[in-house]
Symmetry: C2
Subunit: 311 residues, 2 copies
């Protein structure tokens, strides 16, 4: 069965869609400014479960995932639309009010204005489409395609926490670390809005993507778009500190997904922390197009394109 | 149970959302241009049935409903995003390819460029969120709120055809007119893109809305936003010519919805046809705030706020 990535590549080619395929599309605004725009569809029982989250967390996450896409372009979020599909049994409760409360609490932090959207009924599942529009200096949006051989590869924050939280939710019997913090990383992610915009303003990143599908998958996406390869060092990967050591640790950090950290490349070798969020060098860009190597104890292995796929 | 309109009014007030509540939100683009943006969520078994439509018609309709919102602002459509949620049983077929084919056939007519969106899996229903961004001369977007006492009220094309098509689909035994044409009006609506933009360019419309919920409901929306009342003449309403006379005729035309014609007000008393689409004067704006009168054989009755509601 073809993956959604194959399908998107197919229609991009078939219909010559030059703006499709990055975290956001870039549109011309005025002589000094470009717009970026993104949409993220979240579906009950596929992307979230109502018995695992709260309406407030879900409202927060719906906005956070789109803010993360805007951050990955180095842009500043500005306007948003929300389309919600609601089963009647949920409409009758306070769920939707609480969902918007969670949404607006995060929107306020970043001065994002809700300008529209849609409300529909659904037969039995809650769905949300979150649209965010941002602004970035003309021609300066950081795309996936700008990585150059020899660039260093960096990630913000830490990886694997969201997957640890999901594992804790899926199987309450197994404790893999500080459960509450891990679950919050999964249900209530923090978009790296400030770091993304700062990297862009300083012209410091050559390419950028947010880690939504997992480090391995998203690094492959970035390498594909840039026509390069990559080498990453397992020991350098900043694993979520609240995770206990265990057999799944590397799997969570490399392929877990939904950490919503930023993965970027730069000609620089070092970045200072931003508001106590570390920015860690994890490897470098190589000329082996399409190949991502993982260095474990000085030995190179191939990092497969593992990560979350809908199909 | 509160309607979605009550809910939207509530959050608009609660969070002071000044751009929410028209067919599109208006955003500043550059010194000469504003953007308009709209989102329309279509849900299987609520907004459409897969056994009644084809994937091509559904792709067409998903774009058409958003183009209609853009037309109702007097704007020109430019960019689009599509978020689709697809059950695995549909993903495995050619459905999604055909859906995009129908979408792109319409997009091509109006030079609309697909710039992004999302693809997610759903447990068992197909959902689409259609986002369209358009452009309009600065400060010239035609809003619902500009109708003035004494303005004439006009509609484009004819009304009731979509409801007639839906009735024909719902109950194949009953023929209410030229079934094929009526069904096509329901499944494959034509957005009034050219007329909307022309009315705006000539500064001819004081207020405008598209007829998606039904004439009665949408005229109430326009009157509410403008703080006025209206009087419409039943005899003047251009009923879909393919509908046979019958007891539901007025119901279809007044409250049927999904005709995607434009309803607008103007200080002018007459408009010529545009490409053989008539523009018909159906009444006038009055000072009876919130009251819509229907004149039937010289007698005034109250036109209730009937129309499609999700809740």
């Amino acid at each position: 069965m073809r993956s959604e990535f194959d399908f998107i590549s197919h229609i991009k080619k078939e219909y010559d869609l030059r703006r499709v395929g990055d975290d956001c599309a870039v549109l011309p605004k005025d002589p000094k400014t470009d717009l970026v725009i993104t949409a993220d569809l979240l579906v009950e029982d596929i992307d979230f479960r109502l018995d695992w989250t709260t309406p407030e967390f879900l409202g927060h996450k719906a906005l956070a995932v789109s803010l993360s896409d805007v951050a990955a372009m180095g842009a500043k979020p500005k306007w948003s639309m929300l389309s919600i599909g609601v089963p009647e049994k949920i409409w009758k409760t306070k769920f939707v009010d609480k969902f918007y409360k969670g949404w607006f609490d995060l929107a306020k932090q970043f001065n994002v204005e809700l300008v529209g959207g849609d409300v529909s009924r659904t037969p039995d599942k809650f769905v949300v489409d979150s649209i965010v529009v941002g602004e970035v200096a003309k021609g300066r949006a950081v795309q996936r395609s700008g990585a150059r051989v020899g660039d260093s590869i960096f990630v913000t924050g830490s990886l694997g926490g969201s997957a640890g939280g999901l594992a804790a939710l899926s199987s309450a019997a197994i404790t893999r670390g500080k459960t509450k913090q891990l679950i919050e990383r999964h249900l209530r992610p923090t978009p790296r809005t400030k770091i993304g915009a700062r990297l862009c303003a300083r012209n410091a990143a050559t390419a950028m993507i947010d880690i939504s599908d997992g480090l391995a998958a998203d690094l492959h996406h970035l390498c594909d778009a840039s026509g390069v390869g990559a080498r990453v060092y397992l020991d350098s990967i900043p694993v979520e500190p609240n995770l206990d050591a265990g057999p799944e640790l590397n799997e969570f950090a490399l392929a877990g997904g939904e950490d919503f950290e930023l993965l970027f490349t730069s000609s620089r070798k070092y970045f200072a922390d931003v508001d106590s969020t570390p920015i860690t060098r994890i490897g470098e860009i190589t000329s082996d197009t399409g190949i991502v190597e993982l260095i474990v104890e000085n030995r190179a292995t191939r990092l497969p394109r593992a990560g979350y796929r809908h199909f």
